[in-house]
Assembly symmetry: C2
Homo-oligomer: 773 residues x 2
């Protein structure tokens, strides 16, 4: 059969379905109640599926409007694809130029959303950058000729080396001369503003948008995996997260803006896509693109963003189309950011390393300190993950849980108190990282004596102190009631350790320039052989590898971030080793850990190896399922009605005469039943219906409900190895699978069951699962 | 049930299966022939699956040895995973330290293969580089103090700027003074050696390893997708491809070494993994790693290699584990290459662009020429694809097909004749590309007057001429009987156009330095504003985008290749636009086109949109299938024997009493039947057997064949939308799906059917499918 003929046949079939259904609806026959249904009473039935819960009525009406999914539901991608198919088919079925126009409008709206999202995110990222920089600088002083300039903009007219008189510290502003009073005032303003910023961020989050706390990446992973969490992407969350993020970053707490910016991007994409007709299957693509663009803007790394989307957000299975859309969104967002150019450097890159001829070559002996850094990164990364989990669990189970704002304020005060005395801690984290990555260059000035060759050991001590303090602060901060990302603090910790290692190596080289291990270096101790800045990059890569367990995307981000092109290989080795070491202490990265702790229905892409179990060993057996059970004569409308009203499961398997026929979702069932029942009530008839129209009894006036059955429901043999079942759930993004044996329903597995297989042996699983707001 | 208990139960079950089967084997009952089976005679049965064919007996015994797959088969990944599972389970079941050791040995052997492959590929790549460089230089002259030195090594002691006297051109060597005789001799030696190189490559390929021709990437894509083509990875192919590649590249034909190097890598990985126990499921991972490492070595781009594996070789669906292994192989191969350092530059990067402060900034108006380049790349890329397909089809259908060696020789002669007069064509392609990418720098010398500011328009003419000639030559060369990659020629074509565009822009700027469009440049015409070298990079990116339709990996490769970090965004835009433009002329990249032309069973990862068809519309209906049909009393051994011997399909659905029970593969069936039949022959009994042991007739002495059934066979409803079925084939790497309705077999779909859905409307499909050797 040729393609056009097939298409025509399909359309005719579809029309026939519609007609049949309409005819049924038009039969005005009344119905009356019968009290016996084929409903089975089961103890643990509630558990077989993520059911709608009692919060139902209190939830927002916005999700009602969509009609299908409730907060906390899992999206059925098969069904969504079917809906999208249907929609496209109807569009294409329109005749003439109107149909053509509708098709063009449809596909162009998708690209319009992509472009608008990209531009929006680029702009938002630029604004946030400016806001953060200004708020952060405000803690130390102000610009004389304009309150709203940050220090760099304020001093932009000054030649390097010259002192900038336009920027006044607060003590200069208040004309204080005594050094003691000066530093007292400075530290007082610094701490007060920090506390004020963080406190207002916490109040904003707590009052207006509780979902705006934390990084947001675990939730986005879950949402892309099919979890429904509309409040997480609401316009309010967008506003509060963006504002709170700027305040939180400026407060000097040990947190970064990268993860939350991804969340902001997704909120923005959701807002923009709501202006157009919304389809879940497409929304997912838009969200992926937005998340990618978020990373792209956060790091100024358009390529790293795409790879982050691929690797960490697990859009592997979504195939090249999703990647392509992410690529485009990422490019547009980066172009917008580049166009706005918030810092006037006309560079996207955040921490560009100064590449000189001397630094493009590395020596083989340097692999030894780098490997040490990689192992350290793996160990400390795993340690930071554990520490963070322990802190989160402690917070939840202690009284701290009840005073989130107070917690944030005290934590900020402690951070300020601890940070102020140590120069490297006092600086904004991104500034610290830039300077740690930078090679020493007399023409560029010295960042707090970091390049002073006589202070090597003092600097090593300070750097290690900075790193250790930051580990403790980050472990607690990441999880408080404020927007907080973990990327930047992790980079800072790793960079501190790395720079320290670089300084140590340099110190050794200067002390023993003729030792055999340094034989590839020039023998003069004053020569340039070691580049401590690059050690910082390696340290950051290792630490990030240990904390996030990303691989390829991490390397790309780092090497886009720093421009350390000639050093890809050492970065790759460091990431590889630190992942190996980290995996030894536990397979989960920090985002997977939070997903498990909050018990989102997220299926990790990891391979699952069963121990010989088959689906039959883990499935809910048929006896425990609520089943619509019709016999050869069909079943009464009322029986079905009762099942649909009694049980709030997502849907029910349909069995006819012992044979499994299919699966029907509850809301689809209810919508149809309501209108049918109304008809019955009016006419007083008591019709029967069937999901399996038999040719034999086609004249028996049974209402044909078979169009309600899910067209893409999967039925498998229960002897299927569990491994294969899990990989089907992972790769096809399924919501449930029915199992049958010789046509008889034997059981059912849902995504939740599969997720539990993965998280069952994990210590902190569900430690934070109950919503805390 | 706790996990250990489950595992124990599973083991017990498995033991029980084994015992039952052994008991059956031990019953010494004879058998005699019966002539009536439940075999259905069908016309088009041969077509329902890629069957073993009549070449069977003539094929190599190496594939026999493996016992399961024949050349041309499609691998059933589900089954392979099951085998791997079984193996791991048996390993883990061994008690005590022996079991532990076996497990450790098993997983370490996998990593050993990875490491050895990486090292091997790095070494092979380095050797090839040296060989190619030397052979290529030999066409122009020789080194006075050592015949086996290439020009660069020979002149390595000479300061830049000084004339190298150690390298003698052939006319110098023969002490010829007349300029005319000199150039006559030079061109004669050049052409003769080129023809000799290419001719010997063609003879080698034709005589010893016909699979060593062409790039190899289409075949590798098909193999990773499950196509069995063992001769393609044989040691002979490895040797001939490597040697032939060096000769072909050195001959100056318009071809590159990148694709073939991927093939060489895969051969090497296959050879190394054969030293260890071979399992298909693991072999695939090893091959992916090898392919990735091949790209990594070919370009000196470890990261680009990983992304190439992800995007072009479509290992998306294989998940993060495969990516991780590719990452490791790639790093190891790059380390090996770096360690050997064939050119003594201690740099991996092939065409490093000279980044100076002036070139890191680009102006917005430059987007206009870049967009023109991108559109040009898309159009010309699509054109090159069409031209290449037309050339391949013409070659196949004309008499040229019978004279492959002569074809290669004439093509080389023509290439040499055309190339020698044009300086840019005469240079080795990689040298040309390096110089096109390089910015003009007086201290580095001038490549054939490319930087001469007075010869801008002459250079533009020469560059366009070079590009156009190369398009024609490449379209013919890519597909001849020699190893040939398309990557490098494409880069060269794009770079020529790009550099020409850069020169034009620069010329315009110098002519009108104060025009408003150049307002962001300094107003002096002598100032540096345009970087023509970077235009060449953009041109190369656009052309590659048009030819290969890759996106992310292309950007990474290019920016790793050139180090043009600050220009990621323009490269991304160029790739994006050229892909859009190219897709307008046809969705297929050049590799997909060759796959379709040779009709490999490769499923593209592209989205398939049905027009309302369901599986029922395309499946082979049950009536057309060869089915093992048993009734409630089982069936005779002989019936099954007859089916297995009459039909050479991969396997058969099993139906019992009208109900579909499962699927059994022919080889599994035959192995069991042979031993059973021998027993029967000896004892004279005539036993019956069953695939569905019924508890009721368990005592009827039926032989239980149910363990032979595929455990992971998929049975779906025939109402399943075709789209969903296709995506299941794509994502789960299936070989076949059975369809049933209320338990009854209604039809079957195989991978070949699905591949045909994609290639059906494609003009050149199967144009080269019949094997030409």
């Amino acid at each position: 059969m040729s393609a056009p003929t097939q298409a025509h046949t399909a359309l005719v079939q579809f029309d026939r379905h519609l007609l049949a259904r309409m005819r049924n609806l038009q039969q005005h026959v009344s119905w009356f109640e019968s009290t016996n249904g084929h409903v089975q009473d089961i103890e643990d039935a509630e558990q077989y599926e993520l059911a709608e819960n009692e919060f139902d009525s209190t939830r927002t009406t916005s999700s009602r409007k969509r009609g299908i999914y409730q907060e906390g539901d899992t999206i059925d991608w098969h069904r969504e694809e079917a809906v999208e198919r249907e929609r496209k088919r109807l569009l294409a079925a329109q005749r003439g130029y109107r149909g053509l126009l509708a098709l063009i409008a449809d596909s162009s709206s998708m690209w319009l959303v992509t472009i608008l999202t990209g531009i929006g995110i680029g702009t938002a990222g630029a604004c946030l950058d400016v806001l953060v920089r200004w708020l952060g600088d405000l803690r130390e002083g102000r610009c004389t000729y304009g309150f709203f300039y940050n220090q760099v903009t304020c001093c932009s007219g000054v030649d390097p080396g010259e002192v900038c008189r336009e920027w006044q510290s607060w003590s200069e502003y208040f004309h204080i001369r005594t050094i003691f009073t000066q530093s007292l005032l400075q530290s007082f303003v610094y701490a007060t503003l920090a506390v004020a910023f963080a406190g207002s961020a916490a109040v904003l989050v707590k009052t207006y948008a509780p979902y705006a706390f934390h990084t947001g990446i675990p939730e986005i992973k879950a949402i892309l995996n099919g979890y429904v969490l509309d409040a997480f992407l609401s316009p309010w969350t967008l506003l509060i997260k963006a504002l709170g993020l700027a305040l939180a970053v400026a407060s000097g707490l040990s947190l970064g803006k990268e993860g939350p910016l991804v969340h902001v991007s997704c909120c923005m994409a959701d807002l923009i896509s709501k202006m157009f007709k919304e389809v879940h299957a497409r929304k997912r693509r838009v969200l992926t693109g937005a998340a990618v663009a978020g990373v792209s803007v956060a790091f100024g790394s358009p390529l790293g963003g795409v790879l982050f989307g691929l690797e960490e957000l697990d859009t592997f299975s979504s195939g090249p189309n999703v990647m392509w859309r992410g690529f485009v969104t990422s490019v547009i967002a980066a172009m917008a950011l580049q166009y706005i150019d918030p810092f006037g450097t006309s560079k996207l890159v955040l921490f560009q390393v100064n590449i000189t001829e001397a630094t493009t070559v590395w020596r083989r002996f340097e692999l030894i300190p780098w490997l040490i850094l990689a192992v350290l990164g793996g160990v400390l990364g795993a340690f930071l993950i554990r520490l963070n989990a322990a802190a989160a669990v402690y917070r939840r189970n202690s009284t701290v849980h009840n005073w989130p704002t107070l917690e944030v304020i005290s934590c900020t005060a402690i951070t300020a108190a601890v940070s102020y005395p140590v120069v490297f801690l006092r600086a904004q984290t991104s500034e610290l990282v830039v300077n740690l990555f930078q090679e020493c260059d007399p023409s560029k000035g010295d960042f707090h004596g970091l390049c002073n060759p006589t202070a090597i050991w003092a600097n090593v001590f300070l750097l290690v102190l900075t790193a250790v303090t930051k580990i403790a602060l980050t472990a607690w901060t990441f999880g408080m009631m404020i927007p907080a990302g973990i990327f930047l603090p992790t980079i800072a910790i790793g960079a501190s350790f790395g720079r320290a290692m670089g300084l140590i190596t340099e110190g050794l080289y200067r002390a023993y320039p003729t030792a055999w291990i340094f034989s590839s270096c020039p023998p003069e101790p004053t020569a340039k052989c070691i580049s401590p800045g690059f050690y910082a990059v390696i340290g950051a890569a290792s630490m990030l590898g240990g904390v996030t367990r990303m691989t390829v995307s991490l390397v790309v981000i780092l090497f886009e971030l720093t421009g350390a092109l000639s050093h890809v290989l050492p970065i790759m080795i460091a990431v590889m080793v630190s992942k190996w070491v980290g995996d030894y202490f536990g397979k989960e990265g920090i985002y997977s850990l939070w997903i498990a702790m909050r018990e989102y229905p997220w299926l990790p892409p990891a391979e699952y190896r069963d121990k010989g179990e088959t689906a039959a060993d883990v499935m809910k057996p048929a006896a425990n399922l609520v089943v619509i059970n019709e016999n050869r004569d069909g079943c009464t409308l009322q029986d079905i009605n009762q099942i649909a009203n009694t049980y709030r499961f997502h849907g029910f398997p349909v069995v006819c005469g012992g044979q499994l026929i299919g699966y029907v979702t509850r809301d689809r069932l209810k919508t149809t039943l309501e209108s049918l029942s109304e008809d019955d009530a009016r006419t007083g008839a008591m019709r029967k219906c069937t999901f399996a129209p038999h040719p034999a009894n086609g004249n028996m006036e049974l209402i044909n409900l078979s169009p309600l059955l899910e067209e893409a429901a999967l039925q498998l043999r229960e002897e299927m190895p569990l491994e294969v079942v899990v990989s089907m759930f992972q790769k096809l993004n399924l919501r449930h699978i029915l199992f049958s044996h010789e046509g008889r329903l034997t059981g059912m597995l849902t995504k939740t069951d599969i997720v539990r297989l993965f998280t069952a042996q994990f210590p902190y699983t569900a430690a934070l699962s109950e919503p805390r707001w």
